[in-house]
């Protein structure tokens, strides 16, 4: 609005000031001003919010009626070259420790020791892709950072990546931007949103990205997965400026944010791999990003029929969401996805019995239900927020609400499926906040 010539003031709660200013700077508005509220509004009573507003209204008027020194004009500068940092130390080990301490102070690290991105190592990393160092792959939100191939490579070195990983990370940045207007929700939310990279096509087998046992976990067998996931997080931070406490306002946080990368187990899936289903050629390599919100372990060692296995998936997925009941978030429901990550054993129980992916989707959707009472808890304090067509539910007794089972999500087509892992009847479920985004891995040297 400021850029359109309209004076504006934002209501910003204590603890969100740095985020507000970082966001303003990312959009080229360093003179942005706000009215500070002493508490986050979402959990407050209406009376308390009104009192806080009365205390802040003078500031709102001040911001709207006094110039900050700007005249609405826009100035442009040239992009600057990457600068180099010199760390003097007694020896190389001391330098390594000093650099890590310095990077932690600057908030450029994920907290684990990082590999020094020396000019030589970055040069070697850049040889992994055919694109020029200065090429801008994309602009990464929320900080609107220019994702040049060089900046991607520097962060890849810091994460412990190899040159062969660089084209994957370039594609991951493209897929990240492909999440569109959900990128900011994934990167900045007070929830535990985190990207999951799923690699398809020959590159996974060629490099050795783990698609089998403990592919999402630690250890030597997943070394490529680990550094790729880590590199994407460092890129989100240092290129997308998504730093915890600045633009990443996650309330509690999650270990999933350190990085999640896996290859689909295309050798053992009974179905079309994810990328073929999305319209890519079997021999193309792709990275698909899922904007996950949580992870659920589905432990079912007792069923050997498709119905039994899929009932477990459906029942474990039936977590109250039900945003479709709530008119307060009209834009949210179409975005939500459920990612069913099947281990090969259960996938093949379904596949060999003739169940297609769509048949699995329909079955799980129809059984992924919870009671109206649980869904209605979302509007317990704000019954005026319920959509008119669901108001009748509020007139029922709690017992009656308990008897009515409703879907937790809008449509069977919101269910995505991949096959990952080793033998054993275990599966994972990821609830996601956006449709996945896939990019082709090209530019391989």
């Amino acid at each position: 609005m400021e850029k359109a010539g309209k004076p504006s003031v934002g209501i910003v709660s204590v603890g969100f000031e740095r985020d507000a200013m970082a966001t303003a700077r990312a959009f080229g508005l360093p003179q942005f001003r706000y009215a500070l509220f002493p508490e986050v509004l979402t959990g407050l009573t209406p009376e308390r919010i009104k009192r806080d507003t009365a205390d802040a209204v003078d500031r709102m008027v001040e911001v709207l009626t006094t110039d900050a020194g700007g005249n609405g004009n826009t100035t442009a500068a040239k992009p600057k070259a990457t600068d180099r940092l010199k760390i003097d130390a007694t020896d190389s080990y001391d330098a390594f420790e000093k650099m890590n301490r310095q990077f932690l102070e600057l908030e450029w690290s994920d907290g684990f020791p990082i590999i020094p991105a020396t000019p030589e190592k970055v040069e070697r990393m850049l040889k992994g892709a055919t694109r020029s160092a200065e090429d801008v792959v994309t602009v990464l939100e929320p900080g609107n950072g220019l994702a040049t191939v060089e900046k991607i490579a520097i962060n890849a070195v810091m994460a412990g990546c190899e040159p062969a990983h660089l084209p994957i990370l370039i594609a991951a940045c493209e897929a990240y931007t492909g999440l569109g207007d959900r990128v900011r929700a994934m990167a900045m939310s007070t929830s535990t949103h985190a990207p999951l990279m799923v690699i398809n096509g020959p590159i996974g087998r060629e490099i050795g990205i783990n698609s089998k046992r403990c592919a999402m976990g630690p250890g030597a067998q997943s070394r490529h997965n680990i550094v790729l996931g880590r590199a994407l997080r460092l890129i989100m931070m240092n290129v997308g400026h998504c730093y915890p406490g600045h633009m990443d306002l996650d309330t509690i946080g999650t270990a999933r944010k350190f990085g999640m990368c896996v290859a689909e187990n295309e050798e053992e899936t009974p179905w079309q791999p994810l990328h073929v289903e999305k319209g890519f050629d079997q021999e193309e390599s792709t990275v698909t990003l899922f904007a996950t919100r949580d992870e659920i372990d589905v432990n079912d060692l007792d069923n050997w029929t498709p119905e039994g296995v899929l009932n477990s998936m459906a029942f474990f997925s039936a977590i109250p969401g039900g945003e479709y009941l709530d008119q307060g978030h009209p834009g949210w429901d179409p975005y939500y996805r459920l990612l069913l990550m099947f281990g090969p054993e259960h996938a093949n129980i379904c596949g060999t019995a003739g169940w297609s992916k769509n048949a699995v989707r329909e079955y799980v959707y129809n059984r992924c239900r919870t009671s109206a009472r649980r869904l209605l808890n979302k509007v317990l304090c704000t019954p005026d927020k319920i959509r008119p067509q669901w108001e009748w539910l509020l007139k029922l007794s709690e017992w009656e609400q308990d008897q009515i089972m409703l879907p937790v999500m809008g449509s069977a087509s919101n269910i995505e499926m991949v096959v990952v892992g080793g033998p054993a009847g275990k599966n994972l479920i990821y609830r996601c906040i956006a449709p996945p985004s896939t990019a082709i891995i090209k530019d391989r040297a």
Binding site: P7, G28, V57, K86, V122, I154
Partner: protein, 94 residues
């Protein structure tokens, strides 16, 4: 003595390259249309409505229009708001 040289991993922001000043301010809100922009996160609307009331009481002939957006905000709604209002207060609930 050992010197380690490393490259800066932090990308420049588009906002650092293209910087805009804030809009020129009116001396008073008298006679202006105030837009209340909300992203539908609970609590923000209560603060905005209250702020609209307080400002209407303080200044003459202030017209207040509330815009209930979402996350992300509908672009058409933002465009309409720009056309209809002179100044804005925004809230995301946090």
């Amino acid at each position: 003595m050992f010197t380690l040289e490393v490259l800066n991993p932090v990308a420049q922001s588009e906002g650092e390259i293209k910087v805009s000043g804030t809009a020129r301010r009116p001396r008073s809100l008298d006679g202006l249309t105030l837009g209340l922009l909300w992203n539908s996160k609970r609590g923000g609307e209560i603060a905005l409505v209250k702020a609209g009331e307080l400002i209407s009481n303080r200044f003459k002939d202030v017209k207040v229009i509330r815009y209930d957006g979402s996350m992300p905000c509908d672009k058409e709604l933002m465009e309409r708001a720009k056309q209809e209002c002179d100044v804005f207060i925004g809230s995301t609930g946090d």
